[in-house]
């Protein structure tokens, strides 16, 4: 198996100013510049080329190298196809031959590795263009500036990127595992605890109903209390199970009419002295229909449930913004003290005795989790020291994160 380096090994480097780099090999100036200026330019070019910073190669129409200038291009074999010296040009022959058809077109090949006499690789830029005056292709070859610095910077960036990638992967795995553990823990405790709680409730009820056991009034009241508390705990466990599964269920994005949605929610509310008004623009959109229904229903239900007067008003307003729907649910109830503005969104938090309002205290927690899972946000505005009422503001994104 023959194995060859990327380019033909170049001949030994000639000394600066030797036959291969003499000024008389520099192409004559095409314009009518003063003789001294042309001479100065040629001299300057000689100096730069002498340092090996750039080189020129002329190709005929068959892409054979006919002339070269500058020690940098000593590796180019003359009277031979340029592809023999520069493998990177293999396959680009048609591209090069097409250059005369498009005036001013330059074919650029940046940072091509080319072998050096000492077996190392130098990185060179190639710019190829057509010279109509000479009927030849000209290949300008120049070093990639500050090669070592570029490599060092690239190495540094790559190392940082690889390390960040590894750290992110490790953290993602850890987080996914922790989330899975937490979710399964919540599911297990809520699911598995339901059975003994149900059993306890049934036992209390059966004992209270058992006529063969002498039970006085006080004991019966306590059994009723046990049954009530067990029932309450069962509701809390059901709510916890629902909460833990939020955001992990696959929810389909559907085309909905948000006006029809809010109308149906309002119509399904129990009759009371509290008016629920709708206002604003409720557009048709593609969104997570069921979660949006859950959010609106819970917020309106929450406003109704915690209203402290037999009559009042709840206003549900929608503003159709370019990126999101901004939905506000405002009531004229007692309001929420500032110190509770964050805690009302926590699971099992309620500002009232459980005997006053039915519920496990999960409504707002589920609303917040649902809104955030969709990529939105929720906040509340209320200051009962100034005025009655609470306003929840939901930013529901039109572009749902999936």
């Amino acid at each position: 198996m023959s194995k060859m380096p990327s380019s033909t090994p170049p001949p030994p480097l000639p000394a600066v100013g030797s036959e291969t780099t003499r000024a008389n090999r520099f192409p004559p100036s095409a314009g009518g510049s003063p003789r001294d200026l042309a001479a100065a330019l040629a001299e300057a070019s000689n100096l730069v080329a002498g340092f090996g910073a750039f080189g020129l190669v002329w190709l005929d129409r068959d892409l054979n190298a006919t002339r070269r200038y500058g020690r940098l291009v000593d590796f180019v074999e003359l009277a031979a196809p340029i592809t023999k010296s520069v493998l990177a040009l293999i396959g680009l022959e048609d591209e090069i031959r097409a250059l005369p058809q498009k005036k001013g077109r330059i074919l650029e090949l940046p940072a091509v590795g080319v072998g050096t006499p000492d077996g190392d690789t130098q990185r060179l830029n190639f710019s190829i263009f057509w010279q109509p005056g000479q009927g030849a292709f000209l290949v300008l070859i120049y070093r990639v500036a500050s090669q070592t610095e570029l490599e060092m910077e690239l190495s540094r960036q790559i190392r940082a990127r690889l390390m960040a990638e590894a750290a992110t992967t490790a953290k993602s795995k850890e987080l996914a595992r922790a989330n899975a553990d937490l979710a399964s823990f919540a599911e297990i405790i809520s699911h598995d605890l339901k059975a003994p709680v149900r059993h306890m409730r049934n036992l209390a009820r059966e004992l209270a109903a058992d006529r063969s056991v002498p039970i006085d009034r006080e004991l019966r009241d306590r059994l009723t209390e046990i049954e009530f508390q067990a029932k309450r705990m069962s509701h809390m466990l059901t709510a916890l199970l629902d909460y833990s599964s939020l955001g992990r269920k696959y929810e389909a994005i559907k085309e909905i009419d948000s006006q029809a949605l809010i109308d149906s929610i309002v119509q399904s509310l129990p009759q009371s002295g509290i008016d629920v008004c709708r206002s604003g623009d409720w557009p048709k959109l593609s969104t997570l229909a069921t979660p949006l229904d859950l959010v609106l229903r819970n917020l309106i239900d929450n406003a109704l449930k915690h209203h402290d007067r037999p009559d009042g008003a709840i206003t549900v307003h929608c503003s159709d913004q370019p990126q999101s729907l901004v939905i506000t649910i405002a009531d004229d109830g007692p309001g929420i003290d500032a110190k509770h503005h964050q805690t009302v969104f926590l699971p099992f938090r309620t500002l009232h005795q459980s005997t006053v309002h039915q519920g496990a205290g999960m409504g707002l927690a589920m609303v917040k989790k649902t809104v955030e899972a969709a990529g939105g946000s929720i906040s509340l505005v209320s200051d009962p020291t100034q005025t009655r009422g609470t306003k929840f503001v939901v930013q529901w994104p039109k572009c749902i994160l999936t």
């Binding site: 194995k3 060859m4 680009l92 990639v144 590894a166």
Partner: protein
């Protein structure tokens, strides 16, 4: 002599240059130096009738190109792409599938060989899960180690055989 252009594509640091150097020079360098731009190598694949002898012009590209490589002049006349990933870095395997899809779209009918490299880093390379796009029937996939040389030559000989079979 038939000469055909084979592109090495893949994320930064997956071992493209190491594979090329193992193939061409039969050596492995422990000192990692990222490729800037491209390096081009020549590799002769001996004939194996009915496949004739073939010269592979192997283009080792800079991993920074990403998808932009498909629009670059470097890709002109490519007969095949070997798309490389690092078995120890799952994101690079996902990237392989994307590059494969991009190459197929831009160069339909050309050979694609998927190379999962750095098997030497994994205790059980066969057990590492791969993206489903890389395990579909008919996909050419090899697990290699540029460090040990395992399967490296096979990957390029397979590419030459596929190029000949497709008449590219």
């Amino acid at each position: 002599m038939i000469a055909r252009k084979v592109m090495l594509l893949g994320e930064i640091g997956v071992g493209k240059s190491s594979l090329a150097r193992r193939l061409v020079f039969d050596k492995f360098e422990f000192d990692y130096k990222p490729t800037i731009g491209v390096d081009v190598y020549r590799y002769e694949v001996p004939d194996a009738p009915p496949r004739p002898q073939m010269t592979l012009i192997v283009w080792d590209t800079d991993g920074n190109f990403g998808d932009a490589i498909f629009r670059h002049v470097y890709m002109k006349e490519a007969a095949a792409a070997l798309i490389i990933g690092d078995l120890s870095r799952p994101p690079t395997l996902d990237c392989m599938a994307k590059l494969g899809a991009g190459f197929t779209e831009m160069f339909p009918g050309r050979h694609i060989g998927y190379i999962v490299n750095k098997t030497d880093l994994m205790p059980n390379p066969e057990a590492v899960p791969l993206p489903s796009e890389l395990t579909r029937p008919g996909i050419s996939l090899l697990r290699t180690s540029a460090k040990s040389g395992d399967n490296v030559q096979d990957a390029f000989v397979d590419a030459a055989a596929s190029i000949a079979r497709r008449g590219l």
